[in-house]
Amino acid sequence: MTYTTLVVLAGTSLLGACSGLVGCFAVLRGRALTGDAVAHAALPGVCLAFLVLGERRLPEMLLGALITGLLGIATVSALRHMTRIKEDAAIGIVLGVFYGVGIVLSSFIQKQTTTGSKAGLDSYILGKTAGMIVQDVILIGLASASCLAVVLLLYKEFKVVAFDPGFASVQGWPAFRLDLLLMTLTAVTVVIGLPSVGLVLVAALLIIPAAAARFWTRRLGAMLCLATFFGGVIGAVGTLVSARYHHMPAGPTIVLVGTSLFVISLFFAPRRGFIARILRARRTNWETFAPGDEAVGVALASRVGRHQERPDV
């Protein structure tokens, strides 16, 4: 394994882990597609930063991406509260229009500059891990560390907001500000993922590890750990596969590895998995329609068990 591959591997695993961690809150909060809107809204920011700088410098371009990405979130929220436009349409509008402006700017840059800047901007759409250098990995590491620190510091607060925002505000938590912080974390994660996974697929990194982890556990702490782990594994395996075969760009490969993990969880996870639920349903049916003394006992026991399990969701 070459040095370059190791660098890329470190970068994508870190990125996957960070996305998995932050994605849990987005998924639990029903905001999975906000990440998608941020990612698309980031394109004009990248292009504007490039226009201002005149060259390709990653941190500044990501800052531009973060600014327009947050502007995108703010627009969705403003449209939802100030007009009759519903959230789904608002997300679609922001996603489409910001992306449109982005490709206008990107084509403008391509016409202006003759040197190979086209490839540089293109990689933000479908992602490109090959160019990743140590500085990029450090940037991803710093961002991931800050996300982790915020989540650890505000674990209890985020937990309340993620599961019951109404209760949180009634209890006097600053629910709106916490929500804003969660969205900012999402935006930061999306933005650091842009160069390697691309704006179309970066939302998948947020959603897939968290959604897969949800099948295995019903405790938030465990879900966070598992999703972080899944994200890291997906990033690493995806990068390795993409390095091994030709014409397998890293972004889509990482996503497909994630999809496989999701499908495995969907079928084989205990309790919430398809197979476990089908087996349970059959057992319940059998016990209901052909009860022997023992069977009724088992049925009652399983029912009682279910009720006991519920509260700690």
Binding site: G30, T83, D88
Partner: protein, 463 residues
């Protein structure tokens, strides 16, 4: 067919075809988009437009050609698959609806990118899907009836026809299922069937327009014109007409601006559509942000001014009929709740001739103001009496709701309330309900000097 006028240069002909393709593509999207917006399924449209990429790649894998019809079949299949998988994951996998959608469409898109990446040697690249090919649409032409037209029109025109036919034939069903899904199921319209057919239409329209504007801008062209129209009207037929208009303006404006500045035309079309949307969102007559705020402001101002009038009327009522009621400007402002609006209310009331300056710096009601005050206080006390008769509320719970609703009770409702309380002339706090019958003289002569009210300490604003 006609011949090109001589003054049209070849460049202008290319522009003509580009704009025409844009108009056809955008109009088709706009019609479908209206139902997406009304059914709140915009994100499913977004998801389908991304995942059809896999359909296109699969179609190429099986047919070996980049002609339109296999592409349409592949996209139709994948579009329906997206819809079904999302629903299945949501219901049977207990995954949140947005998460399941996100998993499905990103996976299919990733699959599409990888599959397309395998066919290096053919003309089928992701650039066209991401940026749209409308800039070069006129260069790839076919000959129909001895005339060269862009190749994409061969599939776009039939898709437009199918869309019009579909919406025309299923107008009633689509309308009911858009506005009232429960009613549509209850009436026996196969909600699932209509939904499925509609998803099929969305997939076909997406593929058709994707040739011109690319997979992501097509989301803008589906949703933005329809959302703009949604802010302008409440009628479905007018909404569709507005959406088409916005789509057409985006096509023309986008293509011309893009040519002028030498930038990507598909993106420019989305930008022009977005500009129209945000402009309408701000200034739309009923649902715009400006009109909403100005309506709220006017309503608040009306309530504050009416509060001042009602307070002055009660003061007047409480005194000897001959002595002029006295309240200073500061007192009036305080009665109205203080603040900017209350300060604004006093000069406004004076210009409207509802209050006038009495001796010194005090204010009193004019005759018109007195009539308005009487009506307000009548509404208030009638409502209290009504609540008292019909609900088991303690006496100190009557004032608050009445002081809210008094601003919305007109003469007609006053009469009906008066009948409902059997023409009681005293409210639950023992005060006379003024203006009971116009023939019985003015309320001032019948005013009973009320005993100090038991319903609170804040004096004249009560009761």
């Amino acid at each position: 067919m006609f011949d090109w006028p001589a003054f049209l240069s070849p460049d202008a002909r290319i522009d003509f075809w580009t704009i025409l393709v844009g108009i056809i593509s955008n109009s088709t999207c706009a019609v479908v988009g209206c139902f997406l917006v009304l059914k709140r399924m915009c994100l499913l449209g977004d998801a389908i437009s991304h995942s059809v990429l896999a359909g296109i790649a699969l179609a190429f894998l099986f047919s070996g050609s980049t002609t339109e019809w296999p592409m349409f079949i592949g996209a139709l299949f994948i579009g329906l698959l997206t819809s079904v998988l999302t629903q299945t994951l949501h219901t049977f996998g207990q995954v949140g609806e947005d998460s399941s959608m996100g998993v499905v469409f990103t996976s299919l898109f990733a699959l599409g990118v990888i599959l397309i990446g395998q066919f290096r040697d053919v003309h089928l690249d992701t650039d066209c899907v991401l940026y749209g090919g409308i800039d070069t649409v006129a260069l790839d032409s076919i000959t129909v009836l001895g005339r060269e037209i862009p190749r994409v029109l061969r599939s776009m025109v039939p898709v437009l026809a199918i869309t019009v036919l579909f919406v025309g034939l299923l107008w009633k069903e689509l309308k009911i299922s858009a506005f009232d899904p429960v009613l549509s199921s209850a009436m026996g319209i196969g909600a699932a069937t209509v939904h499925f057919l509609f998803m099929g239409l969305v997939s076909v329209v997406t593929v058709s327009s994707l040739q011109a504007v690319g997979a992501i801008v097509v989301v803008a062209m589906l949703i933005v014109p329809a959302a703009t129209a949604h802010l302008l009207t409440d009628r479905l037929s007018r909404m569709i007409a507005w959406a088409i208009a916005v789509g057409v303006v985006s096509a023309i404006g986008g293509c011309l601006l893009a040519r002028n500045w030498n930038v990507n035309a598909a993106g420019m079309m989305a930008a022009v559509a977005g500009f129209q949307f945000f402009a309408v969102a701000i200034v739309a007559p009923r649902y715009g942000i400006v009109s909403k705020f100005s309506n709220n402001f006017r309503l608040s101002l009306r309530i504050v001014t009416e509060d001042v009038i009602a307070v002055l009327f009660r003061l007047e009522e409480g005194r000897n009929a001959n002595a002029a009621p006295v309240a200073s400007r500061e007192q009036c402002i305080r009665f109205a709740g203080g603040g900017m609006l209350a300060r604004l209310a006093i000069p406004l009331l004076r210009t409207r001739g509802l209050i006038e300056l009495a001796s010194g710096k005090t204010l009193q009601l004019t005759q018109r103001g007195r009539e308005l005050g009487e009506s307000l206080v009548r509404s208030h006390r009638l409502w209290e009496a009504f609540l008292d008769e019909n609900f088991q509320l303690p006496a100190d719970h009557l004032h608050e709701p009445a002081s809210r609703i008094e601003h919305y009770i007109g003469p007609e409702l006053q009469d009906r309330l008066a009948e409902a309380v059997e023409r009681r002339d005293v409210d639950p706090h023992g005060k006379t309900i003024p203006g009971g019958s116009k023939s019985a003289g003015s309320s001032k002569s019948t005013t009973v000097p009320s005993k100090p009210t038991s319903d609170g300490p804040s004096g004249p604003s009560q009761g």
